[in-house]
Amino acid sequence: METTNILEINNLNVYYNKKHHVLKDISFSMKRGEILGLVGESGCGKTSLAKAILGMQSNYDGSISLDCRNPQMVFQDPYSSLNPSKKIGWILEEPLRMKKGTEKLTHAKRQEKVAQMLEKVGLDIKIREHYPSELSGGQRQRIAIAAALLCDTGFLIADEPVSALDVTIQAQIIKLLLQLHKEMGLSILFISHDLRVVYMMCDRVMIMRDGMILERGCVDEIYKNPQNDYTKLLLEAANIN
């Protein structure tokens, strides 16, 4: 595994409407192939940070350096992640249709890649003929992950990908993400407010509150010996320790 940084953020400040200061002087880096957890309460700026990294935030200062082509995101709500009027096969082929020039793929090649990806995320190939409304939340989230990976990305932001799912399905999706991380060397920024899920998934974790990073470090280190009062409070509330 390479140990170079895939993401480096220095002194990032994000504003909404030029007045509301959402992210305050955020600096951190992420190693290639690492799973970094980002934990914090709702409204603390986790999704704003993700949007800034993906270039979906225009009103910011500071530097964001992402050494990866086609960064992708898996969203929280599996019900709005997939186009309701298209079949799964079409949805999964869409990123492949965007390939230009020498990378352009024939219909047969696209279908082959889709079939391989479906197998990788543990879904039956017949699911291509279904509409999103015919699938369960877990199946939809698997499709969303498959669609993101079909963009040939090495960096994935998972924005609370399991919080809308029930516990058994949560475990399946976490297992899938870990498996894909291992197989494809995927770097994942895993956003969550569930400390137990972060413990299972991540190598390192950052604790965020009010647009600032309060504490960061290895998961074991932070969970066993938290330094910040807010981190201690979060761990206590989650019944960890």
Binding site: L54, M56, N70, P71, Q72, M73, F75, D77, S80, S81, L82, N83, P84, S85, K86, I91, E94, P95, M98, A144, A147, A148, C151
Partner: protein, 266 residues
């Protein structure tokens, strides 16, 4: 459950009426029992019979033949009006709704100004400037119909542009144009289709109204509105003329209204 049942019943009845009306319209394009403009003084105000199903008018012209021809004219004008309104409205609504910002503000305020005037009044101004005739009616009503479709489509685009699947498409490198027409537009079809049906009804009534006022289809061409206007003078001597013409307008509008209602999700 009850609402769903009502919607599907409306859909079926609407479909039956519309199919019958469309059959009569298509029939009128290729065949009429008599020449709709041919006068026959011996048949003046003839009562409905086997020979003349709906009787004859003040010039002895066969009313059924004129109804068939008139329905065709009204239908074509309403269709062309809706096509102009929908195509322009979808383009304006999609672009402003998707991109938002100052473009949306400017275009939609202009839209609001046009929308503030009743479509018939706007069409009357247009006709008074550019003259009567069916082509000018189509253009005038078409322009007057643009704001309502633009507003509906814009609302849908504002709703869909924030959905995660659209964000994913942007991240996957899909162009704005493709997102607008391939990713979002098909999802607006349910709402758009029912608006098209309602728009079509309004266009039928607007055309009939304008021809009734004498600024739409000009004689000797027939249209349901101009026929109703003529029939008004003979309401007591030949009531069938007004009744059959009015009935056709009602059925045409009712069929599409029920279809629009049925298409709405229960």
């Amino acid at each position: 459950m009850q609402t769903k049942k009502k919607h599907s019943l409306n859909l079926i009845i609407g479909l039956i009426i519309t199919c019958i009306m469309l059959f009569l319209i298509i029939l009128g394009f290729f065949y009429t029992p008599y020449d709709p403009t041919k006068m026959d003084s011996s048949a003046k105000f003839a009562a409905p019979s086997i020979k003349h199903l709906m009787g004859c008018d003040n010039f002895g012209r066969d009313i059924f033949s004129r109804v068939l021809k008139g329905m065709g004219n009204t239908f074509v004008i309403a269709l062309a009006t809706v096509v102009i309104g929908v195509v322009s409205g979808v383009l304006i609504g999609a672009v402003t709704g998707y991109f938002g910002g100052w473009l949306d503000e400017v275009v939609m305020r202009i839209n609001d100004v046009v929308f503030a005037f009743p479509s018939i009044l706007l069409a009357l101004v247009f006709i008074s400037l550019f003259g009567t005739g069916k082509y000018n009616v189509v253009l005038a009503l078409g322009i007057a119909f643009i704001p309502s479709f633009a507003r509906i489509v814009r609302g849908e685009f504002i709703k869909y542009r924030e959905m995660d699947y659209v964000k994913s498409a942007r991240l996957a490198g899909v162009s704005h144009l493709r997102i607008i027409f391939v990713h979002i537009l098909p999802n607006t079809m349910t709402v758009l289709l029912s608006s098209i049906m309602i728009g079509f009804n309004n266009a039928v009534l607007a055309e009939a109204g304008m021809s009734y006022l004498g600024i739409g289809v000009q004689p000797p061409d027939a249209s349901l509105g101009s026929m109703l206007s003529e029939a008004q003078g003979y309401l007591f001597s030949a009531p069938g003329y007004a009744v059959f013409t009015g009935l056709m307008i009602i059925l045409l509008v009712l069929g599409f209204s029920l279809l629009a209602d049925g298409l709405k999700k229960g």
